[in-house]
């Protein structure tokens, strides 16, 4: 087994999905909004990046996608952020009206509709086939270093930036208002804050980060296929968040690190037959489910990572 390669893979994936976990933690852990469609931002960012940077479709190939603007990578990344913002605006306005599990279902529904659109609309990005071999940006400029390492470093820097920004928000008065939204919305409204505004703002503000993480994911996989952007991404991120203890950005990162380590270690085991590999992949899914159940029940990391409630509960 190549431990160096494994380490690079883990760092890259933890950084990319770590940003998505942080986004979810801001929405659920801090503001109490249950988003079961977080993959939609991720996918919207990824596909926007691809459509902006891809060469226009050639007549000769089997490609069916209609748009390819051939823009530079930084423009694609910026476009991904804008796509995240637009998608958050679309999925964010129901949050003004819905609470709890109703919000969970609506966000889930939006993500599924978007996923179906990607799968079925051939002219958008080749449907089920997707786009394979998406070029990785700045290859020549980075030829002095192994590209995988450069990407891992870039993803890690992105994660650190997101972490620092989110931590600053959490520790600001604004962050305390968000926690009040989670703990006692009535008290927040009574003290003269507009809870509706906070709900929409936290969606609008955090979604672009998840969308940009989608662009990083394209650089890592070089694939834009619908199978990579299913509800499983949402569930993995939820499992990570619950593992680490929601409400703490540090906990969110511990959670996603454990999940990715677990997945990659299983994937690194060599299997003799396809059937053995298939059983291992299935048991991996079962084990993730079991972990989620166990951690929800006993919450072993909660006392380590979760910040003590600042708001004293009355009555």
């Amino acid at each position: 087994m190549n431990w160096g390669q494994l380490a690079i893979t883990v760092v890259t994936l933890v950084s990319i999905l770590g940003v998505v976990t942080l986004v979810l933690n801001m929405q659920y852990g801090h503001a109490g909004l249950i988003n079961f469609g977080v993959v939609a931002y991720f996918a919207a960012g990824a596909y926007t990046y691809v459509l902006l940077t891809q060469a226009p479709p050639s007549e000769a190939s089997l490609d069916q996608y209609a748009i390819g603007l051939d823009l530079p990578a930084w423009a694609g990344l910026a476009g991904a952020a804008v796509a995240g913002l637009v998608f958050a605006a679309i999925t964010g306005w129901p949050t003004l009206r819905l609470r709890g599990e109703y919000l969970a279902l609506t966000t889930f529904a939006f993500a599924e509709v978007f996923h179906s659109f990607i799968v079925n609309e051939q002219r958008f990005a080749n449907g089920t086939r997707g786009l394979v071999g998406v070029p990785r940006p700045y290859r020549e400029e980075l030829s002095f270093i192994d590209y995988d390492i450069a990407l891992a470093v870039a993803a890690l820097v992105f994660l650190i930036i997101a972490y620092v920004i989110f931590e600053r928000i959490v520790r600001s008065p604004y962050g305390r208002a968000l926690e009040a939204l989670r703990d006692d919305e009535l008290a927040l409204v009574t003290s003269g804050k507009r809870s509706r505004r906070f709900r929409l703002e936290i969606f609008l503000f955090t979604a672009p980060f998840a969308a940009m993480a989608g662009a990083f994911y394209i650089w890592y996989t070089t694939l834009a296929i619908p199978d990579l952007f299913t509800a499983e991404v949402t569930f993995i991120v939820w499992i990570a968040l619950v593992l680490g203890g929601e409400g703490s950005n540090r906990g969110a990162l511990i959670g996603i690190t454990l999940v990715i380590l677990f997945e990659e270690l299983i994937r690194a085991i060599p299997f003799d037959t396809i059937r053995a590999a298939q059983i291992a992949a299935s048991l991996e899914v079962a084990a993730l489910g079991l972990l989620l159940i166990i951690f929800l029940r006993w919450q072993p990391f909660a006392s380590l990572t979760r910040a003590p409630k600042r708001v004293a509960r009355s009555g």
Binding site: L98, G100, S116, F117, V119, A286
Partner: protein, 289 residues
């Protein structure tokens, strides 16, 4: 003619959705949370039936009956071992936990069954041509089964002691308990019933088409849609909602490619949640769930 054919198709889809959603809605009403693992229970029932029927060669009806009973007890065991201890943490945590249960069941079934397409050993019956519209006997049987299930459930909930205590619990658990209703027995009956209905739904799934281990996930999306259109709490609304969603999905084939069927279901969900969150049959909004 095409429209008539699709309406007939929709009747079958609606019957299946009715069976599949009733158990889900019952749990939502009595236990108070959305059990995402409900569809995986359907998949368990379908594959137990498949194993007994196609692998061991048992008669289909016997295999299906055993599978449905086994599924009912699995549902009860999951409730006691996993959901009951975390009940105090509230519906959202139970919902997330049920995603874990869905993963667990899905992982186990796909590890045991493996990839590939399976089908039951049942006779292939030719479709009847009724005035130019094709009707398959199995779809008619399913429609009859759905009718029996709906009537049976209504009778059970209205006429039997356990049924009445389930209804009392659904309205107010504390009050039911303090009035001497055996809350534990009612909860046990709820889970057995939900598992039974999920089992029937799983068998129906295998009769109508072929089985893969991924089939459950696609179903939970539509079940959620039906449950929301019905109003999350209402059982009678489920009957109307199952057929509304089924007709909308099947008639959409007139204007959209088949891949868009789930999108139709979810478009309905989004519209209903935003316009009439209490559902077609619900009376009071429960927005602060």
């Amino acid at each position: 003619m095409r429209v008539t054919q699709l309406i007939v198709l929709g009747l079958g889809t609606g019957a299946f959705l009715l069976i599949a959603t009733l158990g889900f809605s019952l749990v939502r009403r009595v236990e108070g949370f959305l059990n995402i693992a409900h569809a995986e229970l359907m998949s368990v029932a379908a594959f137990v039936t498949w194993y007994l029927n196609a692998d061991l060669g048992w008669h289909f009806v016997l295999a299906a009956a055993i599978a449905v009973v086994v599924t009912a007890f699995i549902a009860l065991a999951i409730a006691r071992l996993i959901y009951d201890p975390i009940k105090h943490l509230g519906p959202p945590i139970l919902l997330i936990s049920s995603v874990g249960v869905a993963f667990l069941l899905h992982g186990i079934t796909s590890a045991v069954i493996g990839v590939g397409i399976r089908s039951f050993q049942i006779p292939r019956l030719d479709a009847w041509n009724v005035g130019g519209v094709l009707v398959t006997p199995y779809r008619i049987a399913l429609l009859v089964l759905a009718g029996l299930v709906a009537v049976g459930l209504a009778l059970f909930l209205n006429k039997t002691r356990t049924g009445k205590s389930i209804r009392a619990m659904a309205i107010n658990k504390e009050l039911a308990g303090s009035r001497g209703i055996n809350v534990n027995a009612a909860s046990r009956a709820t889970w057995l019933l939900a598992g039974l209905l999920a089992g029937l739904g799983g068998v129906a799934l295998g009769v109508l088409g072929t089985l893969t281990t991924d089939i459950a996930f696609q179903q939970i999306l539509v079940i959620l849609a039906v449950a929301i259109v019905a109003g999350l709490g209402s059982l009678y609304g489920v009957i109307a909602a199952a057929f509304i969603v089924a007709f909308a999905m099947d008639l959409s084939l007139l204007i959209l490619p088949g891949g868009y069927r789930p999108v139709i279901a979810f478009a309905i969900v989004i519209v209903v949640l935003l316009v009439r969150p209490q559902g077609v049959a619900g009376s009071r909004p429960e927005l602060t769930a």
